[in-house]
């Protein structure tokens, strides 16, 4: 088990493309950190730098007390679960799991014992003599997990391990991986583009965008206080409503007619981006804000109402018991749930 420290770690490719801007983060022992962001945001590059599969252009990376920038992947005492599992097609399940141990000089008895233990945990006992090609997607995923845990590594690395599974299996494995990680207490870095995975699994989330760290925080911090419009839009489904507004005479005004009963942000600006999560908005109100509902989406447990507010698109989420119909609906925008962002930079005010 180990603490992982990234100190201004940066990746620039020979063609000048900066895949990861200097990134500093400390991952305490036993924590599961999720790197999340859209494709091309640098999350996989960052993970691969930690694994040693990519060179680190600048900065230093430590696993435990040692700086490992120039250590071979095999010498970093890590285990990695790949997106397509990367099982050795010519080896049996047992051989796949034991290969790393064998190369580290473990005795046959030790390998057998650890493989059996991992197989027991992952319910793979009946499949130890099979080849990967004879397994289902979910089983392959488990073998990849097994290969990681038999090694007893200091650090687990997960590269979108669930993205090749169907939705149902994905939900199930998500819980299993999290439970396993907590039981083993191994520090983990988990890459995904799925914000639900990020929210449900992480101790802390690192949101990346265009090679830059947008925000680091616990899931609730990220959700409750997004540091930028990017984070606000990326985390949460449906995304946060963002509207352009003007600050006039101490009030926030959407357009000429719609005045919001909101206290403006403390920072003085002329214009501002106003954000509300769809589920923070309530139906009914004094009529100062009226949502022009165009479409009602029935989702069973709740409904989504899509429409416009003061000419800008706006969606709200209401409980299944509330009446919802197309047409003008008065809504309440609670003061304590508002998010303000800088109109150009998109940063939180």
């Amino acid at each position: 088990m180990a603490q992982v420290t990234l100190d201004r770690v940066r990746k620039t490719y020979p063609n000048g493309h900066e895949a990861v801007q200097p990134c500093t983060v400390e991952i305490p022992d036993g924590e599961l950190v999720v790197l999340v962001g859209p494709s091309g945001c640098g999350k996989s590059t960052l993970l691969r730098m930690i694994a040693g599969l990519e060179d680190i252009t600048e900065g230093s990376l430590s696993i435990g007390p040692d700086v490992v920038n120039h250590k071979d992947p095999a010498d970093r005492n890590i285990a990695m679960v790949f997106q397509n599992y990367a099982l050795y097609p010519h080896m049996t399940v047992a051989k796949n799991m034991g290969y790393g141990l064998k190369n580290r000089g473990a005795s046959k008895a030790e390998i057998d014992q650890k493989v059996a233990e991992a197989a027991r945990i992952l319910n793979l006992g009946d499949y130890l003599d099979r080849r990967p090609s004879q397994l289902s997607g979910g089983q392959r995923q488990r073998v990849a997990m097994g290969r990681a845990i038999v090694r007893d590594p200091e650090l687990f690395l997960f590269d979108e391990p669930l993205s090749n599974l169907d939705a149902k299996l994905r939900n199930q494995m998500r819980i299993e991986i999290r439970a396993l990680q907590q039981r083993l207490g191994v520090t983990s870095v988990y890459v995904t583009h799925d914000q639900v995975e990020a929210m449900t699994m992480a101790d802390r989330i690192i949101v990346l965008n265009g090679g830059r760290v947008e925000q680091i925080g616990t899931p609730s911090e990220i959700y409750e206080r997004p540091a930028s419009t990017f984070v606000a839009g990326f985390m949460g489904a449906p995304p946060m409503n963002l509207m352009q507004a003007r600050v006039l005479n101490g009030a926030v005004q959407l357009d000429g007619t719609t005045k919001l009963t909101l206290a403006p942000p403390a920072v003085a600006t002329d214009t501002v981006l106003v954000g509300f999560r769809p589920e923070d908005v309530r139906l009914g109100g004094d009529g100062s804000a009226v949502l022009e509902v165009a479409i009602v989406e029935e989702l069973g447990a709740h409904r989504l109402l899509h429409g416009t507010l003061g000419g800008q698109s706006f969606s709200i989420s209401v409980g299944k018991d509330e009446t919802a119909q197309v047409g003008p609906q008065p809504i309440t925008l609670p003061q304590d749930r508002v998010h303000f962002f800088h109109p150009e930079r998109g940063t939180r005010l």
Binding site: D7, R8, E58, D66
Partner: protein, 303 residues
């Protein structure tokens, strides 16, 4: 680099022990590859250099390093000067014959095998499986094993010393058909269904859909077949006795025999070497310039 040193000083334990080892491995890799490339390239470069020397020099000293002034002269002689026992054939003529063989074989093979493969894959034909096996059995026997009877067959048909006799028997093997069959089978089933719903018949479907879809494959096969046809040796040796029909590769046999004769004349080494280079230039250029198609065709056709 300023930032790098800065962040390095922060962690005093930063070390770079593995850098040199990685570099050394790269150097070894490149050294091996350069040695390999040299081994492939050097023999031909040496022959090219030698064509710039006088025949007398070559006879005396063999292959030569360096450049003299005779290269153009030797290539000119190889192209335009009549040679052979009957002094009737020039390099240009052989080049033309090689072109006819290479192009005729490649085009003929592609046309015939595409047609056959289309018939096998896209029609509900009762004897399609039988036709498939009849055709694919030919994969089993290279021309070299049935050379004698094939020669007899051509003789009795009166096709010796004709382009037909040269080209057509070489087409009698299923390599192309096998390849196109594999490719057609990989085309999604829905395509023929959609085409039929759109009212396309078999001929229209072949011309409007299959041929455009096969363009890369055709190009890949064409390159391989052209090189294969161009480089044929045994069959042209048997079937062409008339020197006017000689291909460049067939001409090599003649060159070897002429050079082996011990006579009063100085053997025309420069011209012979130039001719051997001319024999390799067209296929080599095609392989180099259309490399990606060629590699694709070779590795995907599996034969």
């Amino acid at each position: 680099m300023a930032d790098l040193t800065q962040s390095s000083t922060l962690q005093t334990s930063v070390s770079t022990p593995l850098r040199p080892r990685i570099k050394l491995r790269h150097v070894v890799d490149h050294a091996i590859l350069i040695a390999g490339a040299f081994l492939m390239l050097f023999p031909v470069v040496l022959v090219l250099m030698t064509t710039s020397f006088e025949d007398a020099d070559i006879v005396k000293h063999g292959l030569q390093l360096g450049f003299e002034g005779k290269m153009l002269e030797n290539f000119e002689a190889a192209m335009f000067e009549a040679s052979g026992f009957t002094k009737t054939i020039t390099g240009t003529r052989m080049l033309m014959n090689s072109m006819i063989l290479g192009l005729g074989f490649a085009i003929g093979k592609i046309v015939i095998s595409m047609m056959a493969a289309y018939a096998i894959v896209y029609f509900r034909l009762r004897f399609a499986t039988l036709a498939f096996w009849i055709i694919f059995t030919t994969l089993l026997l290279p021309l070299e094993v049935r050379i004698l009877p094939s020669y007899e067959a051509i003789q009795s048909l009166g096709l010796a010393n004709t382009y037909t006799g040269l080209i057509v028997p070489l087409i009698a093997s299923a390599t192309g058909t096998f390849f196109f069959r594999q490719f057609f089978r990989s085309i999604p089933e829905e395509l023929v269904e959609a085409a039929r719903i759109d009212g396309a018949g078999p001929v229209k479907f072949f011309i409007d859909i299959i041929i455009p879809l096969s363009r890369t494959m055709i190009a890949a096969i064409f390159i391989i077949m052209f090189v294969y046809g161009w480089n044929q040796y045994l069959w042209p040796t048997l079937i062409t006795t008339d020197e006017g029909m000689f291909t460049l590769v067939r001409g090599i046999k003649q060159i070897v025999q002429v050079l082996s004769q011990t006579g009063a004349m100085i053997p025309e080494y420069g011209k012979a070497l130039a001719l051997s280079l001319i024999a390799m230039i067209p296929p080599v250029l095609i392989v180099i310039f259309f490399q990606s198609w060629f590699v694709k065709g070779l590795t995907e056709s599996d034969k």
